[in-house]
């Protein structure tokens, strides 16, 4: 075990997979000699050369299209979006091509493709460098979507994504790159896609979250613990497929559910979780299903305004208190 950052964990995962499997390669804007906008691919160009670390034009539809083509002929591409905000430029390639090819060919064709998408706010990036577009892809059949929060999960999920024979959108939170540090095994390991993890156990309330929101959620759970309320904190890690059993199991135990995410409120992952819990675990509820999310608006460039919009520990504690007293 060693302590590394979230960004290092991502870099290690790519490096180890490229060493392990020659069909794995990376492509994206400035991922080569420059090492990527966030230095995620730093050192890969030197180690594997320009044939396996491809600089591309500033054209996301081209990046995704090339990656799909390569995947169809047996490669395992890792396509880097410089910011998740620009993934929409490659949207058609993702939702109409990558997501449908297996279905269209009756299962004869696989698209073992990973799209890495640096997402999330709180970095004062304004409205084109802060978005959380994960719900669009969760909505679309044929895609897997993951969003890890810890270095351990970041590495294990990226490796699992690379080895998966389906297109996986890998959302990595920019705010965690250097801030999240944690133990990571020296051995080769993967974290299964579609499995949530209980990051803190409690019996009174269930808090479901993912990605960077895990940390204010854990802090809020700690605060509640001092007030005698024990919170079960579930880190989804994967959004599609989503680990429903983990959610239901916890709700059956606590009967009260709060969902926290940095994505917008309307039609976010929280909306789907609330709906499914209402449908399938209604008999176990002892209070309304609640959400703390980013409001349905853009990311302001002004730091105080962005701070006002983002979910944080205080907002989560407020919601937990209300839910506990219900």
């Amino acid at each position: 075990m060693k302590e590394i950052t979230y960004l290092e964990a991502i870099r290690e995962a790519m490096l180890e997979e490229m060493e392990r499997d020659e069909s794995v390669f990376v492509l994206g804007e400035d991922v080569g000699a420059y090492g990527g906008a966030f230095q995620a691919t730093k050192g890969l160009y030197e180690k594997f050369g320009e044939a396996r670390v491809l600089d591309t034009p500033i054209a996301e539809s081209c990046i995704v299209g090339v990656a799909i083509g390569a995947a169809l002929v047996g490669y395992r591409p890792i396509a880097e979006m410089q910011f998740a905000d620009f993934i929409s430029c490659g949207f058609d390639q993702i939702v109409n091509q990558a997501a449908t090819l297996r279905y269209r060919t009756g299962g004869r064709v696989a698209v073992p493709l990973v799209i890495r998408a640096p997402s999330g706010g709180g970095v004062h990036g304004g409205l084109y460098h802060s978005q959380n577009p994960e719900a669009w892809f969760v909505h679309r059949p044929g895609l897997k979507v993951v969003a890890p929060a810890t270095p351990y999960d970041a590495k294990g999920l990226l490796k699992a994504s690379i080895r998966d024979n389906n297109p996986v959108i890998y959302f990595e939170h920019k705010g965690l790159y250097r801030r999240a540090k944690g133990p990571v095994s020296d051995e080769d390991y993967t974290v299964p896609i579609g499995k949530a993890e209980v990051k803190r156990e409690g019996t009174d309330l269930t808090l479901v979250t993912y990605s960077a929101m895990l940390f204010p959620c854990l802090a809020a759970a700690e605060t509640m613990d001092k007030e005698g309320i024990e919170v079960d904190v579930i880190d989804l890690r994967s959004l599609a497929p989503l680990d429903w059993e983990a959610v239901f199991q916890s709700v059956r135990k606590t009967s009260k559910l709060l969902i926290v995410h940095e994505d917008n409120r309307t039609c976010g992952i929280g909306a789907e979780i609330a709906a499914r819990v209402a449908e399938e675990a209604f008999d176990d509820l002892d209070g309304p299903v609640m959400r703390v999310t980013y409001p349905d608006t853009h990311h302001p460039f002004s730091p105080p305004l962005e701070e006002f919009c983002l979910p944080n520990e205080a907002k989560i504690v407020g919601a937990l208190r209300r839910l506990a007293s219900y």
């Binding site: 009967s255 176990d284 509820l285 002892d286 007293s325």
Partner: protein, 417 residues
Amino acid sequence: MEVKIVVPHMGESIVEGTILKWLKRPGDRVERDESVVEIGSDKIDVEVPAPARGTLKEILAQEGATVAVGKAVALLETEDAAPARPKTEAPPEPEAAEEGEAKEAKQEETTPRGRRRITPVVAKLAERHGVDLDQIEGTGLGGRVTKKDVLPYLEGRRSTQEAPEPKRKEEALPTPTPRRAAVPSEEEPVEVIPVTAMRKAIAEHLVRSKQTAPHVTTVAEVDMTRLVNFREKHKADFERQEGISLTYMPFIVMACIRTLKEFPFLNGSMEEERILLKRYYHIGVAVALEEGLVVPVIRHADRLDIRGLAHAIHDLAERARTKKLTSDDLKGGTFSITNPGAFGAVLSTPIINYPQAAILGVEAIRKTPVVRDDQIAIRHMMYLCLSYDHRIVDGATAVQFNQRVRRILENPLELIL
């Protein structure tokens, strides 16, 4: 200032009230809390007090009128500008969400217990363990009983039920506390079956009948031998001609209709202090299904002959079994017949299909030794058990009715006329 006087909330499930008597007339002065009107419902009568001091301005609903709960029945012109409120009480309730707790807590004090908010998990626990939620003090918002309130209560109940009393070991055997409801355990496994809408409707209907109509059952002993012989003789032909089997039911239905015409009160009902005598004959015939009993109705059964009745009964039973009955098939019966004899019952006390006045239970036909001309003979005997609403039908009438049906069945030729 004008204030409305409304029909007050009188309890769960009461949705309207009837104006019984106006105690004040328009133009009368009334004090605050002085009774203005008497309003009745099927469960309770109340006197409605004036919400403020003033003059009764206008009556909006006359005596005898039925008005929904919450709707205005009169207008009151108050003397002071502000609506009546005790001076000590705070001004208008805050509407902000943050004040929700205080507001709900206040409502809790004033609303009847039956209207408390119960969440799904609490409802489930209460049902599964037979808990009366009124016994539990709620700690949730506005005094709501939460899951966390129910679980320790169940825990406490279990320990008082199961823990032996340690100190009295030598004195006497511990007396077990009677259980309030079955608590499932490995030793005493209990299967919990959710009540279906149909089962609930049956339950409510039967309870209503038993609670409203004082039931009396009279029994007639019928010698069915002639009818048995008649049926034996004709059943093969009948089946060939009609494609359905010949049962006793058409004869019994026809005998009942003949007799109902002579004793109209048994084809009546009591509704709102009036007795309604139905001059038409919609006869309900009970059909037992796996999921519960239904009583489809033969409309204008008096217009059918034996063959017509046989087909109508067969059709209803068939459609009941294949779930093809419409709600119209189940409505509007004036008298019902049930046939527990089909399952071997020899005596029953049927429950009236309320608001009908009576129901006839048809029992099993058995060969029985009876006395005929001072000799013991073997005859096909059957009991007819007539339950009737004693508010509408006196004992003498009911017994005469049942005996008349008996005589017709014993002399089936009477059915021809």
